[in-house]
């Protein structure tokens, strides 16, 4: 039954993206210029946008770890400054002898090979200031999410949910050709790994995401992105901090836009060996995060 549901949902996603190109496309907005960081741009009122993102995360301290995160999004502009979106998130994960926070096998690593719909979520963005007409762009972002599977190890979750909040800041320079964005992110997660559990595990993730991109030619932007992720277990205990950086290139045209970004972890804390004596990377935290992530996004406004 579970398998049938998964296959059915995958089929719906697949069909959606085969059919969508047949529709006339007449708008352009809400572009993602980076792998992670958001701009303050919103879909104009009365317009729609469909977006598909694929993120490949790979490289942990031991064994093999590859995860493909699929994020299918439908955005709608309620007004020129207020947009909403719905997400369907799925994942293919292949792990063999890889470490993870919740690895029941300890140093032997965990094994997983599955495709699953991992979560559904919604998104609301309200823009207060425009980076074009105001000295600085400012927007607020909220994303509630219901989780079915853990993104890091593919474990089933029960009645799990999270709320993500972002403050989006953008400053444009040189006739809007250089775009600099900063996102302050807070994600509050509550999850349970067994159906009978009455108590939730909780954690706070807070991130800093910074990106700068320059219009190198008509339709093309090239930039750099930096991401810092901090995890606070049970909302009081610092678990780890991880830092990534890498390039992002973006194409924007009248019919669609696309972004390809690469992030490489360059520092992690803790690193070396964890409290249990397991190797987690030289100056890196490769226990439950990866060395590399490659993101491809495609957006179709209409």
């Amino acid at each position: 039954m579970q398998r049938h549901r998964t296959v059915l949902l995958s089929f719906v996603v697949l069909i959606s993206f085969l059919i969508l190109p047949q529709f006339p496309l007449q708008a352009m907005a809400g572009e993602g210029l980076f792998s992670r960081a958001y701009t303050t741009e919103t879909v104009p009122g009365g317009h729609y946008e469909v977006e598909q993102a694929v993120r490949w995360r790979s490289g942990r301290a031991n064994g093999t770890y590859n995860a493909l995160d699929f994020k299918s999004e439908f955005e709608y502009g309620f007004t020129d400054n207020f947009q909403g979106a719905l997400y369907l998130n799925s994942q293919y994960i292949h792990a063999d002898n890889a470490p993870d926070d919740n690895d029941p096998l300890g140093e032997t690593g965990f094994f997983k090979n599955q495709f699953a719909v991992t979560s559904v979520s919604a998104e609301l963005i309200y823009r207060v200031l425009s980076p074009v007409s105001d000295p600085i762009g400012l927007a607020f972002y909220y994303e509630p999410e219901i989780d079915f599977y853990d993104l890091h190890n593919g474990d089933k979750e029960y009645n799990s949910f999270s709320n993500e909040y972002r403050i989006l800041v953008q400053k444009n320079f040189f006739e809007d050709q250089l775009i600099v964005v900063y996102n302050l992110v807070a994600e509050i997660e509550f999850f349970r790994y067994a159906p009978g559990n009455t108590n939730y595990f909780g954690e706070l993730d807070w991130n800093n995401e910074l990106g700068a991109t320059y219009r190198v030619a008509s339709n093309w932007y090239a930039g750099l992105e930096f991401r810092n992720h901090n995890e606070v277990g049970n909302f009081y205990s610092h678990d780890h901090s991880v830092f990534w950086a890498g390039p992002a290139i973006h194409y924007g045209g009248p019919k669609y836009w696309a972004t390809l970004g690469l992030l490489r972890q360059f520092y992690g804390d803790p690193s070396g060996y964890d409290a249990a004596g397991s190797y987690i990377g030289d100056d890196l935290f490769l226990h439950s995060h990866e060395a590399w992530e490659t993101t491809f996004k495609l957006g179709i406004p209409f």
């Binding site: 697949l14 020129d80 074009v132 006739e175 050709q177 008509s218 019919k255």
Partner: protein, 177 residues
């Protein structure tokens, strides 16, 4: 398990048909724009080259950067002039025509080429009409004497800035026409 991998690959390959080629939207030729702004005039195409001093003067008075020293214009005997110029759009260049009457005021503007799919409201007659009569003493500032088009802020902002630069340019080159 193989089915799981297959679904992942299928999801990726589903993106392949989306290689859509963009088409330029050309609404008007240069000559048609000149005739639209000055229906009665007899204009000749003329390329004007700005000197470094003129560029500096225009940049100082308009507060905007001059991207090229070569100006494509149409001029008549009375020194009425139409600039054919390109403005930075969100993704591509927007080609505009700005008609200057010999008294230094804007006679009219036309959008010749607009390839940004969103924001085409800048082609609307009412919005373009706001520029008529503007001269060097005008603010020519979005949100001040030129209304913003909500949802097309970047295009309307850049066109306004471009017109301001061309008004100052006309003032600078008028004596050499």
């Amino acid at each position: 398990m193989k089915r799981s991998l297959g679904l992942g690959i299928i999801s990726l390959s589903a993106l392949a048909p989306l290689a859509i080629v963009a088409h330029a939207e050309i609404y008007m030729t240069d000559e048609a724009a000149v005739h639209s702004i000055f229906p009665e005039g007899k204009f000749e195409r003329k390329v004007i080259t700005l000197t470094p001093d003129q560029i500096a003067s225009i940049e100082k008075s308009s507060g905007e950067k001059v991207h090229t020293s070569q100006l494509m214009t149409f001029v008549d005997a009375a020194k009425d002039l139409v600039f054919i110029d390109q403005i930075l759009g969100k993704h591509e260049l927007i080609t505009i025509a700005v008609g200057m009457a010999h008294d230094g005021s804007v006679r009219g503007i036309e959008i010749l080429e607009y390839r940004e799919t969103y924001g085409s409201q800048v082609r609307g007659t009412e919005w373009r009409k706001q520029f008529v009569g503007k001269n060097t003493s005008s603010d020519l500032k979005l949100g001040s004497d030129i209304k913003n088009i909500s949802g097309a802020t970047l295009s309307s902002s850049h066109i306004t800035v471009g017109v301001k630069r061309l008004v100052r340019t006309y003032d600078t080159i008028r004596t050499q026409l």
